[in-house]
Amino acid sequence: MIETRLGEFEEVILLFVGILGEGAYAFKIAEEFERQTGRAISIGATHSTLDRLEKKGFLKSAMGEATAERGGRRKRIFTITALGKRVLKESRDFRMSLWNQYPALSGKINIA
């Protein structure tokens, strides 16, 4: 059985796929993740998450073009499916509604 819920890490990876668009493949995503979060992550871990997200139907993938620095090998480009987008949106809405219910902080999102 495939789980259809979205984990926190999965959500971030999914967002990165969206951000990177045409350039969303495992190495790039891992690099972007490291750059923006400052946390180290292996390509294998990223790939495994991407694979899981694809099985859940939030992503689809196709082989892209080859480049020289990859030794002439092609890369696998991931794109978000409609389901993936909906899940992302639901997740954001859910959080927003939680934030709005939090009286001390409603209105000012930046947390010190």
Binding site: Y25, A26, F27, A30, E31, S42, I43, G44, A45, H47, S48, D51, R52, M63, A66, T67, E69, R70, G71, R73, R74, K75, R76
Partner: protein, 882 residues
């Protein structure tokens, strides 16, 4: 160089491709390359490579690993075999427990004994040169019996080195207590208090190199200076804690004037070496008496040689025999005036004993304790038997239970299983049982290890991390699984489906002959072991209660009295005055092991020119000896201190009188070089173990003062000890009192017999327990098979007793057959064992009757209980389903 540095590590790539799903290879390798070249820009190539490795290892994730490519059908089949086997075990809990438990028990026993045997066989094998190091022994025929001993003359070792180019090195040791080896008082020169210690030996300097003794401090040349001593690590730690003792002075036996210098510390001797000493005192420039070094009179040294490589020991042995006898021994005998020396020496020979054989050869006298090959053989036999019994149980239960699985076999065959598959299936099952049993056995062995160690007086441990042992263990799991499963698997797989389906296969009847034979076999072994246990116990009691010629009870042995020196007489007199003391004697020669011995050749003075002389003991005692030891004078009188000529008098034992052909010994003169007039004859008393006949013995007056024997008044034991301790502390404030009891020392001489008895008892219990388990399960099964028959019999009016008789009769018959088979075997084995003792019990029929009866009782107990229950059951229970 640079070029090579900039490519991703090859091995990592290969590894990745080995486990990665093939369809992922392209993209993953690409990603990793990209990562690698990127990090190469910022980091050192080494870091980049390390990162590549990290990335590769991080791909070892379930999603990325390729699926097994193994043959699926095969794999699945084994899976079901396992499942079915496991279910079968669970379904029949009692049988499974007996099967596996009995097996595990057998394995544990077998494992423990193998470790023991391995240890016994490993003695002195770890020397690099162990094939070239020999101990030299002498072999001579004495009145038809061949005697072998290891005692040599002081100059022997050095002549070997000079006379024979084959000898690379030779060394002697003197381990004779008469010369002070064994135990001594020991202290550091600057400390006044003596400590008693054990394990002293006098040795040539080269012994360290010859026996390859590893040193902690100092070199193997350490003993090459006069007045030096080498300590073992543990003794150095005891007397010189946390310091390097080299150069320190130590004092032996309180002899302040002759201190020794510590010249080295050797590693503690490994427990599997015959050479067990803690203090080596150098023989460099040292003689026990002037002229000893060149004298061929006396034999007190054990001599080791290291032969040059490629020397044929046998040829060397011949050469050295002829050489030594002609050159040294014959002239000495002629000088001593021994009649017919050539004739005598014809029967003498030198022998080379490989160092690794020393521990196992008990027929060469050397004063050490040995494991004899016979015991090891018996042990091995027991281990094998116990394992065989356990295997038999397994086979028995499997075939007996087979009828229940006949239908399964039938169905399997009908749906297409071939015989090979079935054999495989049943072998798999027996492998599961074997594996479980081995694991359980290992656990059991670990639990039993401490008690086993006390039993055999060793410190063994299970070699968990020895890959050698591990390999044997794994092989054994498969081997035993195979052997134990072979018969059942072939037996089960040969069923014809049609017969099974029709139900014409009579349940469990096939193979009942074999089962009977196996039960007989088990019980035969058990009965033999019971007989063995009984006979050993009898012999033990016989030895301990034998009339021994002296009174061993209530005699206190006080040790270390040599340091009292001149005060010993006054100390003795003060002790004598104590009301709790009957009498006191000062002598190092006591009729128990571990006290001094001094062997001489004796002749009758009148006939000394014609006779060869006999070998006997020359003991130094005082006037109170005979009284204190409670010995009986059969002729003549005791020593008398008021008669001055008694210092040249002697008291001999009956054996001496007999062997010197003295029919009326009192007043005769005997000689061992010096002449003694016989004053009296004591009844023979045992001063060695009863394995030997009582040797001739002579006692003469003199001073040998390191031991005292004190006969106490019976009702005041503890009080007497308190008083004696008080006196001791007054006389010798710097040395703690050390005493033992004569009867305990006497019993200690039979420790080995005692141990053999315990071991036999333990093993016969194990064997019987396993045999009983098997019988229990087998009879339970038989009765289960005949439940309906019994039900019908009961309905038709059979009584409980008749059912009982019906069910037990067959089993008892088997036990009777076992008794008939076992009796001659046990008789033969035990008479062989008893031959070792000069004084022994006779094998009586009672032992065999008792063993047989106990076997019957045990069998009746196991089978009878179940038969009785079967007879008492209500027929309705078994018949209602019909």
């Amino acid at each position: 160089m640079k070029q090579r540095n900039t490519t991703p590590p090859r091995i990592a790539q290969k590894l990745l491709l080995r486990f990665l799903r093939a369809d992922l290879a392209e993209e993953v390798l690409g990603d990793l390359d990209e990562k690698f070249y990127q990090s190469l820009k910022e980091k050192h190539p080494f870091r980049a490579k390390a990162n590549y490795w990290f990335q590769v290892l991080n791909y070892a994730r379930p999603f990325a690993i390729r699926r097994s490519t193994r043959n699926l059908t095969h794999y699945d089949m084994y899976q079901t075999y396992f499942k079915i086997g496991w279910r079968n075990l669970l379904r029949q809990k009692m049988y499974s427990i007996i099967k596996i438990g009995g097996f595990a028990f057998g394995i544990a026993v077998c494992l423990l004994i193998s470790l023991y045997i391995k240890d016994e066989l490993s003695y002195d094998q770890n020397l690099i040169n162990h094939q070239r190091v020999f101990r030299i022994y002498a072999e001579f025929e004495d009145n038809g019996t061949v005697q072998r001993d290891t005692w040599w003359h002081a100059p022997f070792a050095s002549t070997l080195k000079i006379d024979y180019p084959e000898v690379e090195d030779a060394a002697r040791i003197n381990a004779v207590p008469l010369f002070g080896a064994g135990s001594k008082e020991f202290r550091r020169a600057e400390i006044p208090d003596n400590s008693y210690d054990d394990g002293f030996v006098y040795a040539d300097a080269s012994i360290l190199k010859l026996l390859e003794i590893p040193m902690v401090y100092g070199s193997t040349e350490a003993l090459n200076a006069p007045k030096t001593i080498v300590l073992s690590r543990r003794k150095a730690e005891k007397y010189f804690p946390h310091e390097n003792p080299i150069g320190k002075l130590v004092v032996l036996n309180n002899d302040d004037k002759n201190p020794f210098t510590v010249a080295g510390v050797m590693e503690d001797r490994p427990s599997n070496s015959h050479f067990q000493y803690d203090f080596l005192i150098t023989l460099k420039n040292f003689e026990f008496w002037p002229g000893e070094g060149t004298s061929w009179c006396c034999t007190n040294y054990q001599t080791y040689v290291l032969l040059k490589p490629d020397t044929d020991p046998r040829a060397f042995q011949e050469k050295v025999t002829r050489g030594t006898i002609q050159k040294y021994i014959l002239p000495q005998l002629i000088k001593d005036g021994v009649p017919n020396p050539e004739e005598l020496l014809k029967k003498a020979q030198l022998g080379l004993q490989p160092i690794a054989d020393i521990h196992l050869d008990s027929h060469i006298k050397d004063g050490l304790s040995h494991a004899d090959r016979k015991t090891i053989l018996i042990f091995g036999g027991i281990a094998l038997f116990v394992l065989v019994i356990a295997c038999i149980n397994f086979i028995n239960l499997s075939t007996a239970k087979s009828a229940n699985r006949a239908r399964e076999v039938g169905i399997r065959k009908v749906v297409g299983s071939v015989r090979q598959d079935l054999i495989q299936q049943f072998l798999t099952e027996s492998m599961i049982v074997s594996l479980l049993a081995f694991l359980l056995g290992l656990l059991l062995a670990a639990l039993l290890m401490p008690s086993f160690n006390t039993l055999v007086a060793k410190s063994l441990s299970i070699p968990y991390f020895d890959w050698h042992a591990l390999a044997i263990f794994v092989l054994a799991i498969f081997g035993v699984g195979l052997v134990a499963g072979l018969y059942p698997s072939f037996f089960l797989s040969h069923f014809k489906p049609i017969e099974v389906m029709k139900g014409s296969l009579s349940k469990g009847s096939k193979g009942s002959n074999l089962r009977g034979a196996l039960v007989v076999f088990q019980f035969t072994i058990s009965i033999v072991l019971i007989v063995g246990t009984l006979v050993i116990s009898q012999q033990m009691n016989f030895v301990l209660n034998q009339k021994i010629g002296f009174v061993k009870d209530q005699v206190l042995i006080l040790q270390g009295t040599g340091t009292l020196d001149k005060q010993i007489e006054s100390f003795k007199n003060e002790l004598k005055d104590l009301p709790s003391v009957q009498s006191v004697t000062v002598s190092d020669y006591l009729p128990v092991k571990g006290t001094k011995r001094n062997g001489n050749t004796f002749r009758n003075k009148d006939t000394q020119k014609e006779e060869r002389g006999i070998f006997g003991q020359n003991w130094v005692v005082d006037v109170d000896y005979v009284k204190t030891m409670g010995m009986q004078l059969v002729a003549g009188r005791n020593f008398d201190e008021r008669i001055a000529s008694d210092s040249a008098g002697a008291i001999i034992n009956q054996a001496m009188a007999r062997q010197l052909n003295l029919s009326d010994p009192v007043g005769k003169v005997i000689t061992n070089g010096r002449e003694y007039t016989v004053l009296g004859v004591v009844e023979d008393f045992h001063f060695e173990t009863m394995r030997q006949n009582v040797e001739p013995l002579m006692m003469r007056l003199g001073k040998s003062a390191s031991m005292m024997a004190i006969k106490l008044q019976s009702p005041h034991m503890t009080q007497a000890i308190d008083e004696i301790t008080g006196k001791w502390n007054k006389f010798s404030p710097h040395q703690p009192i050390r005493y033992s009891f004569l009867d305990e020392s006497y019993a200690a001489m039979y420790d080995d017999v005692h141990r053999t008895r315990q071991i036999f008892t333990a093993f016969s219990l194990v064997a019987i327990a396993i045999a009983c388990l098997g019988l229990f399960a087998l009879s339970a099964f038989m009765i289960e098979q005949r439940t309906k028959e019994i039900g019908i019999r009961l309905v038709l009016g059979a009584s409980v007793t008749s059912v009982f008789r019906l069910l037990t009769f067959n089993f008892l018959l088997l036990v009777f057959i076992s008794i008939i088979v076992a009796t001659p075997i046990a008789w033969y084995l035990m008479s062989r064992w008893l031959q070792d003792f000069a004084y022994r019990v006779e094998l009586s029929a009672g032992v065999f009757v008792l063993a047989g009866l106990s076997a019957v009782a045990v069998a009746l107990g196991t089978v009878g209980y179940q038969s009785w229950r079967a007879g008492l059951m209500r027929p309705v229970e078994s018949l209602r389903s019909e």
